[in-house]
Amino acid sequence: MVNGCGGERIVVAEIIPHEGVPRLASRSAVVELRRVTKRYGNVAALRDVSLAIHEGEFFSLLGPSGCGKTTTLNLIGGFVEPDGGDIVIQGQSVVGIPPYHRPVNTVFQSYALFPHMTVAANIDFGLRMRGVPPDERARRIDEMLELISLPDFGRRRPSQLSGGQQQRVALARALVNHPAVLLLDEPLGALDLKLRKQMRIELARIQRGVNITFVYVTHDQEEAMTMSDRIAVMNQGRVIQVGTPQMIYEHPASRFVAEFVGANVLDGTIETVESRAGRVRLDAGPSITAVCPDGLRPGDRVSVVIRPEQATIAGHPGPGTNAIPGQVLKASYLGTHTQVVVRVTDGTEMTALMAAGGASVGTPAIGEEIHVVWKSEGSLILVEEGSP
C-alpha cells in the first residue's frame, strides 16, 4: 500500500540539524504533567494525571471521546488552566502562562487556517508574531513548503486547497516555529481513509526528520499504533497505561486497554495456579489455561485476554488446547487474513483473525457451529478492575 506519494519528495534532513541526538536515546522529559486535575463544573475531565513525554518522541494520547485526551492537549497548549497539579515544559512550570508565551504549537482538528491569508502568509504568521527577520522568514517558509511537498502553493488561499493539502499547511504553519512540542488534535480525522493512511506514514516521516516532540491525540488505536513511539491510553480522565505500541498490545494493563486495542476478553474465575500458568473456569463454560501474573489465588475473579490473531476456529478442538464453542456471526475475507466473528456460549462476541494459507478450515459459513481455539501461551490473565 501507500503509493500516491509517487514523485513527491520529502526533504527533511536539511531542514533542522539533528545535532547528533540519537532518537529515543535522550530520556529527558520535555513535557511533564504532575498530578494534574481539571474539572468542568462538577465533571472531572482529568483526575490526578501524571505523564512524562520525552525529547523527540512521537507520543500519542489514545482513548474514547470524553476520556480527557483533548483536555490534556489544551492544558499543554495553554488554552485551559489546571485546577490542581503542575505542568512543566522544558523544566519550567507553565501554569498561568498564556498560549502565546509557550514554546508549543498546535495543529488543530479543523486546521484553523486563516482564510483571509495566503498559504505563505499562514505559515509566516508565527514568525511574524515572534519578530523573526524578514529574509529568514522567507527562507523558512520556502523550506516548510518544500517539507510538506507543496512548493508552488505559497500564493494560494486555503479555500483553494484540498483537505489533505490544508492539513499539511496547518502542520507547516506550526512546525516553522521550531516548537519544543508540537500538539496534534486528531489532525487526520477529517480525511478519507486512503488519505489518512498516507498521512500517517508522512507524519511519522516528517516527525523523524524534524526531530520535534509530537503529542498526538487520537481515538483510533490503529493510527496510534502505526505512528507512535509511546502511547498513553486514557479513560474517564485517567491514564490507564503508558508504553510502546507493542507493550500496550501484547501486555494490556487492564480489561479496558485490551478491549480498546481490539482483543477478546472473557470473564472467569481462577481454579488453580501452577507457576506461571493459571487454570480459569470461564463464565461461558469451559476451563482454559493462560499466562498468569503473580499473586492470584483460586476463586479470584479475572479476565482472560485473547488477541484476535492468536485465535483460530476448528470444528473439533484437539485435546490440550483452549477452546470455547460458538456460532459464526460474520466471516470476512480480507486477502491476507480472514476475520471471523463468533458468538460464544455466554453471548460474548469473539474475533479470530486467521492468516490466509495457514492451517485454516477456509471461510466458514454464517451460523455454523464451531469452536474458537487458542494456545495457552497466547492468552493473558488480568485481574478484573475493581477487585483487589
Binding site: G77, Y100, T106, A112, P115, F125, M129
Partner: protein, 273 residues
C-alpha cells in the same frame, strides 16, 4: 401498433409563453420602482418652472441655482457632518456591543438582546419625543447638531449590532486560538485575525448607518436646534411648493447614493478575491 405512450407535443410558442410572461412581469416591476426616479431626473433638466408635460427645453439652470443657495450648502454641510460622525460612532459602539452578545453568556441575555434591537421597531416619532424629553428637560442640553448625532447613534446602533453579530456567529473561534498558539497576543489576534474577518460585517453596518442617517427626518426634527440638515431643508422647500430646483437636488442625491453603493460593492468584491 400500440397507442402512443406520450400525449401530443405542444407547439413551440406555447412552451415559450410562460417565460415571456415572466419577463414582462419583471419589467413592469422595474418600471414601477424606477419610473418616479426617472421622471424626477428628467424634470431637473427641464426649463419650465412648472413640473408638467410636455417638456420644454434642456437646461442646467436648476443646478446652477442650487450652487448659489447658501442655506442649502449649509444644510448639506450639516448633513455630511452628522452622517459621518454618526457612522463612525454607531459602527464603533455597535461592533463593540456585538462581541459580548455573541461571545459571552450572562443572565437575561435574551432580554438584553431584545431590548437592544427594540429601537429598530419603535416608531421614530416615539424615539424622537423620548430623546427630546431626555435632552431638554432632563439633561438640560441645548439642542444642536450634537444632540442630532446622539439621537442618530441610538437609531442606527442596533442595525450595526445586528449585522456584526450575524458575522460573529459564523466565526470559527478556533482561528483565534490558532493565532494565540502562534504567538499573537489577544490585541494582535484581534487586529490580524478577528477584525479582518468581521470587516465585511462592520462595513455593511457602516453603510446601513450612512444611508439611514443621511436622509433621516423624524428623529432629527425633534432633536435639532436652529441648524438644518438636508432632509429638513427639502421639507422646508416643499412647504412653499415643489420647484425643479428640488428635482436637481434629488437627482444629485440619487447619483451619489448609486455611486456609493457601486463603489462599496466593487470594494467588497475585490476583498473577497
Amino acid at each position: 401498433m400500440s397507442p402512443e405512450r406520450f400525449p401530443r407535443r405542444s407547439p413551440r410558442w406555447a412552451l415559450r409563453l410562460p417565460r415571456l410572461l415572466l419577463a414582462l412581469y419583471g419589467l413592469l416591476g422595474f418600471v414601477f420602482l424606477y419610473l418616479p426616479i426617472a421622471v424626477l431626473i428628467v424634470f431637473s433638466f427641464n426649463s419650465s418652472a412648472v413640473i408638467t408635460f410636455p417638456l420644454q427645453h434642456f437646461t442646467l439652470s436648476w443646478y446652477r441655482e442650487l450652487r448659489e443657495d447658501f442655506v442649502l450648502l449649509g444644510a448639506v454641510r450639516n448633513s455630511i457632518v452628522v452622517t459621518v460622525v454618526t457612522t463612525v460612532g454607531a459602527t464603533l459602539v455597535g461592533t463593540a456591543a456585538a462581541f459580548p452578545l455573541v461571545r459571552t453568556g450572562f443572565r437575561m441575555k435574551r432580554m438584553v438582546n431584545l431590548f437592544l434591537l427594540l429601537p429598530i421597531v419603535i416608531p421614530g416619532i416615539l424615539t424622537g419625543i423620548a430623546l427630546l424629553i431626555l435632552f431638554v428637560p432632563v439633561l438640560n442640553l441645548t439642542l444642536s447638531l450634537n444632540t442630532v448625532i446622539a439621537g442618530q447613534i441610538v437609531l442606527a446602533g442596533p442595525f450595526v449590532v445586528l449585522v456584526v453579530a450575524s458575522r460573529l456567529y459564523g466565526f470559527n473561534q478556533q482561528l483565534e486560538a490558532a493565532a494565540m498558539d502562534l504567538g499573537a497576543t489577544p490585541w494582535r489576534t484581534f487586529w490580524h485575525v478577528t477584525f479582518p474577518l468581521i470587516l465585511p460585517g462592520v462595513l455593511a453596518g457602516a453603510l446601513i448607518t450612512f444611508t439611514l442617517t443621511f436622509d433621516e427626518f423624524i428623529v432629527t426634527f425633534f432633536t435639532i436646534g436652529p441648524e438644518s440638515t438636508l432632509p429638513m431643508y427639502i421639507w422646508s422647500l416643499v412647504k412653499f411648493g415643489v420647484t425643479p430646483k428640488l428635482n436637481a437636488l434629488a437627482s444629485i442625491i440619487v447619483v451619489l447614493t448609486l455611486g456609493t453603493l457601486l463603489t462599496a460593492n466593487s470594494l467588497l468584491r475585490r476583498r473577497a478575491r
